[in-house]
Amino acid sequence: MEAKTENPQEILESVIIRFVGDSGDGMQLTGTQFSDTSAMFGNDVATFPNYPAEIRAPQGSLYGVSGYQVHIGSVEISTPGDEVDLLVAMNPAGLKTNLHAVKPGHTIIVDTDSFTKKNLEKALYESNPLEDNSLENYRVIEVSMTSLTKETLKEVQGLDNKAITRSKNMFALGMVYWMYHRSTEHTIEFFQKKFKSKPEIIEANTKVLNAGYYFAETLELIPNAYTISPAKMEAGTYRIVMGNTATAWGFLAAAEKSGLELFLGSYPITPASDILHELVKHKHFGVKTLQAEDEIAGITSAIGASFAGDLAITTTSGPGLALKGEALGLAMMIELPLVLVNVQRGGPSTGLPTKTEQSDLLQAMYGRNGESPVIIIAASTPANCFNYAYEAAKLTLEHMTPVILMSDGYIANGSAPWKIQSVNEMPEIKNNLLKEFKENWHPYDRDQDSLARYWAVPGTPGMEHRVGGLEKDKVTGNVSYDPENHEYMTNIRAEKIKRVQNYIPDQETEFADSGDLLVIGWGGTYGSLHSAVKHLNDEGYKNIGFAHFHYLNPLPTNTEALLKRFKKIIVCELNTGQFVKVLKSSFNGFEFLQFNKIQGLPFANNELVQKFKQLVT
């Protein structure tokens, strides 16, 4: 197909590419390779996988489409982006379900071999979009990738038809590498490591990758290539991390720093399972993991481990948080350290397991019987999942009360460059362990400042004591039904959480410290909100400030003062308004505007920009 001639070697600030195909086509791998290679080249990157809940949905079906979006740039990249500059569609279903995201005038690469009558029917196309002019607003590059892959591999021994067809994704990747001036070297090294014992697979993938690369180079049908220069990033050693991996690593770092052993009790659930998958690998650090019989055993085994002196965590997603509620109340009542990671997904009930949402905040705040406050913090980017996991561990150990760490499917599965932080650079973690016999000690003696109790663990002579879910005497910890004591204990448990305010940083604002509009967000929406406010700031709207909350309970002490410095406040959330309820119940005299979306998708840049603009003009 003829393409409009443009200047060769166009220089771009950033580009968004989406690879789509069948769930068995290897799109996740293709996308990961492209983002890793680009990061190593020095670009900032953000990625987002989008795959169906079905593991192998029927081939060619619309609901079986799996996609991976990569946003790379020479500028700061804070989200995987909305509309795409290049769509690589391995089949008609992929094209059909993703065409709406392609910017008009931009490029689509298709594997023409997959546009068969059968596949077109499965994708519910009445006519072939490659032939009926319905794509005339796009630059379509038609490549018979499957045939070219077969041709490339006809002389490689030991491959069956399936293996040959499956490597066509590397043909696509080779083409895209050439288009964006990326080297194939990293991916070839990856093959060599991954398929060590299968030389024929290394050979096949390498050949097809190179074939795609040279095909793109020699093809006059691709008139231009794009250059994206390295981004201006802080100097240092980096690697690409997924949010869930970063979360797991934050706990590894906290365990090392605190000198405690790490215990994870968990039950598999999407999208939190990758934290379990990651931690189970690290037995070399003495990490103990228990894949329990259910969500309840996940948390209760962690409570047991905490009682015995480990840094104990449990991981889950929304429905699992519901199941863990009673046990979390026990941990709060017996005042033991415990981190619960909730990687939120679309709810309610089973909801949308593979989609993102922020609708568990109120469950985290109030989802337990009785008055049972806990510390709640939230990570906001794939990379800072590391820091907030570390912070959650630090807070739980220092304050002797459970911490819920909120993540979500979007940042948990998304990946981005992480400037590696050595444990040596991380803040100290003190713990409240009593390692030796202490005269006149009582289980519910408290630190004067933080109100944290002390942690005497089994094995310590002379410190034998009992804890339990029944209300306890304020000093001895023995069961107490005394009315005054119950009120005292209820209040002190609340006060203990409130005093965490004295140990957390003030809430910061970006772009403007005061002005016409304050944009408020929390959790995984940081990237979307930040880029929208930045966009407006760049356009000259200097009166819009942005406050993204990581500490949700308790809120930072300066929150109210900060709210007062803006004329209007808008709280943006991927739910129908949960954090705004927390703010409303905490601060009087403010009008909180809301921007909510509950589609299982992140905010789009343009919808935010439009909304904010409206409010300041």
């Binding site: 690697r239 481990a305 410190m463």
Partner: protein, 338 residues
């Protein structure tokens, strides 16, 4: 586990300062005292003993022990205890639970803890009733039993704790009447010495809501005739006159009288608690006459923590990672220069 060379404690050292508050006449007192008597015999240091309980009358138990303890939430003691043991395998960890706690609300943890075989000691107080909630039927209550929640008779067939446990791969199962402290103490000693999950079912009378529930087996007057107390390596003989025994006839156990129909003592089955195949143990567990007590099964197997530990050793030996920095800076890292 660190053990004391000489007997350092008496049972009194294991009693906490808390007043015991079970109903007068409850077998729970017997169990408490038996445990307190067993511990000095085992010779474990007090600070290394942990009692974890769920909810129910029995679950008040940890408050009365001067050891580490947790009175937790309903049904979850086995899962909490698993965490304690995995965190510190040097501890002697005891689970105190009841028929409601373990066989109803905590059924899932109960079967999985047995399957995994951690070195835990579980004492299941079975009184065939819910006591703490004042008298509803439990998963071991009999069909037809009239309770607060079954005024016209219970219609749910009961679990046999032993049958369920063996089905869940229990390697150690013992049963004992709540009124035989001497044997009970001995069983607790053996259960602690056993490496793996040991389950001891105590047939515990509830004098308030289910009085006499096991009387036909446990009453002093009938005990010897209605109970067979098995011991490994010994013939399965019972009866006041020690003249009754078990033989295997076809695929069923049969009660015979020694000296009748040509039966001699040598014909009586010898109890093998260490047999891997649980078939005979299952038959013993199911038997109603005689009710079999004692250590029915004690099969030695690898524990969960041994498997985990072996894996950890292996992974450590094959890994160059010692500190998290080794991991963080390994693999696909890249430098961004000024």
């Amino acid at each position: 586990m660190e053990t004391t060379a000489v007997k350092e404690y008496t049972y009194k050292d294991f009693a906490s300062d808390q007043e015991v508050r079970w109903c007068p006449g409850c077998d729970d007192y017997v169990i408490l005292r038996s445990v307190q008597k067993a511990l000095p015999e085992i010779g474990i240091k007090k600070e290394n003993v942990v009692f974890i309980s769920g909810i129910g009358c029995s679950s008040r138990f940890p408050y009365y022990m001067d050891t580490y303890g947790m009175h937790s939430i309903h049904g979850r003691a086995a899962a909490i205890a698993s965490g304690v043991k995995l965190a510190n395998p040097d501890l002697s960890v005891w689970v105190i639970t009841g028929d409601g706690d373990s066989l109803a609300i905590g059924g899932n943890h109960f079967i999985h803890v047995l399957r995994r075989n951690l070195d835990l000691n579980i004492i299941l107080f079975n009184n065939e009733i819910y006591g703490l909630t004042k008298g509803q039927f439990s998963p071991t209550s009999l069909v037809g039993q009239k309770t607060k929640s079954s005024p016209y008779g219970n219609t749910q067939p009961p679990f046999s704790a032993g049958e369920l446990a063996l089905g869940a791969q229990a390697r150690f199962f013992a049963r004992i009447g709540g009124n035989t402290p001497k044997e009970m103490t001995e069983i607790f000693i053996q259960s602690q010495k056993y490496k793996g999950t040991s389950l001891v079912e105590v047939l515990q009378n509830c004098p308030i809501f289910n009085d006499g529930c096991f009387a036909k087996y446990t009453d002093k007057a009938v005990r010897e005739d209605r109970q067979l107390y098995v011991e490994h390596g010994k013939p399965m003989i019972f009866g006041k006159d020690r003249d009754k025994g078990l033989i295997l006839k076809g695929i069923r156990l049969e009660v015979v009288t020694i000296g009748e129909n040509g039966i001699e003592e040598t014909d009586i089955l010898i109890h093998n608690a260490k047999e891997h195949d649980p078939t005979l143990h299952q038959m013993l567990v199911r038997l109603e006459y005689p009710m079999v007590t004692g250590i029915i099964r004690s099969f030695n197997d690898t524990t969960f923590e041994e498997r985990e530990d072996a894996l950890t050793v292996q992974v450590k030996a094959n890994s160059s990672f010692r500190k998290t920095d080794d991991l963080f800076f390994s693999g696909d890292v890249y430098e961004i220069k000024e």
